[in-house]
Symmetry: C2
Subunit: 226 residues, 2 copies
């Protein structure tokens, strides 16, 4: 038997609004219920973004706290991962909810273009978030939106800012960043295996290639995100 | 016989100051002379950054004009390439010297971390510079500091913003961006050949792996930069 794959659910992205998709859960009660459904369907890890009362992407600690509390109560044993993303927000704001000690936190290890903007993760911010994750005992999921971010993760391990074994996610399909190509998964996996042989990994694609990416990951022994 | 390789010389980067390295040519007269020496030694393409009177990196059109004029006079037939780089500077400023119609202009097709900063090339700026290069008949050299930039170049070709055959340079060895690994050259070349089979290419490494990168490129039929 191989290690069972962890199925991740990302209940709320940073992007779609209620206006664009009325089904997207944006407030804690909805997010908790939506996670509960995924949990009952077999998901074991939830990746959380929060929204303010106007449904705009935010990093509000109180919102994270409510979602965390509800999921812990309704979905015993589920791994809770907070997003530290936040286009245009400050490092201090993006990492503030790590003090709530979620099981995991996302950590983008570089900067890249996203459609019409730069997804800004300057080196100082990465170091600060990595440090906070060590301080609050939060396991990072390194989000690799481009190839250099893989080598940057290795540098963090070497500098003692990322504990071994690291966990990484190849994120494909965002315009401006890496497209969803199976060859990219193969190459990144080869490099990961050479440079961080104990790392665990997963692959996610945004949009219509999501299922393909799950398949590419499962075939190669990785975890999946829905 | 294979196509003779083009040897590029980058006479002045955006980084070292006279204080750090007194030998770095920073003003037009020095830059012209330094290019002339490289030309006599066999270089056929010069990549140009300019500095203001305090030797700080800038995009001053008059400086570009002086260097261009001097090189055209002293180095007949040499290909002149202007940098459109410029950390922290506006698009309009970064592309202003393209109106001087140099033979080529550099075009970074994405954003990435560089050591302590983000090298910011937001999508709108890339489009604007690409448009200007078409308008002024300047051939772009796509600077690929990370893998996604290769696919972004392909998207520019598909959108008619980059003429075929495109020319790309794999730039390796900048901390935060792609490291100087031969495997990366192989993978990027494989992807380039599949997606843009008519493209010409070169590889450059910053720092001590410069000669290795030249060797990797020459072995695979690419051009080199010193
Ligand atoms: Zn429930
Ligand atoms: Zn996220
Ligand atoms: Zn001379
Ligand atoms: Zn340059």
């Amino acid at each position: 038997m191989s290690t069972p794959a962890i199925i991740t659910v990302a209940i709320t992205g940073s992007q779609p609004t209620k206006a664009q998709n009325p089904a997207v859960p944006t407030q804690p009660a909805e997010q908790i219920e939506s996670t509960h459904e995924a949990f009952e369907a077999g998901a074991s890890l939830v990746h959380i973004h929060v929204r303010d009362d106007q449904d705009r992407s935010c990093s509000d600690v109180e919102k994270f706290r409510q979602v965390q509390e509800g999921i812990a109560k309704h979905c015993p044993g589920m791994i809770i991962q907070f997003s530290t993303g936040g286009r245009g927000r400050e490092a201090s704001e993006r990492g503030a909810a790590l003090s709530l000690k979620p099981d995991m936190g996302s950590l983008a290890t570089g900067s890249v273009n996203f459609a019409t903007i730069i997804y800004e993760n300057p080196p100082q911010l990465i170091d600060e978030l990595a440090n906070d994750m060590i301080k609050f005992d939060v396991k990072p999921e390194c989000e690799l939106f481009d190839l250099a971010m893989l080598y940057n993760a290795k540098v963090l391990v070497d500098r003692g800012l990322l504990k071994s074994p690291p966990h990484v996610q190849f994120v494909l399909g965002i315009p401006g960043a890496l497209p969803a190509r199976e060859k990219i998964v193969d190459f990144m996996l080869e490099e990961l295996t050479e440079l961080m042989p104990t790392a665990t990994w997963t692959a996610a694609a945004i949009g219509r290639l999501q299922l393909d990416a799950n398949h590419w990951a499962l075939k190669r022994g990785g975890h999946v995100r829905t």
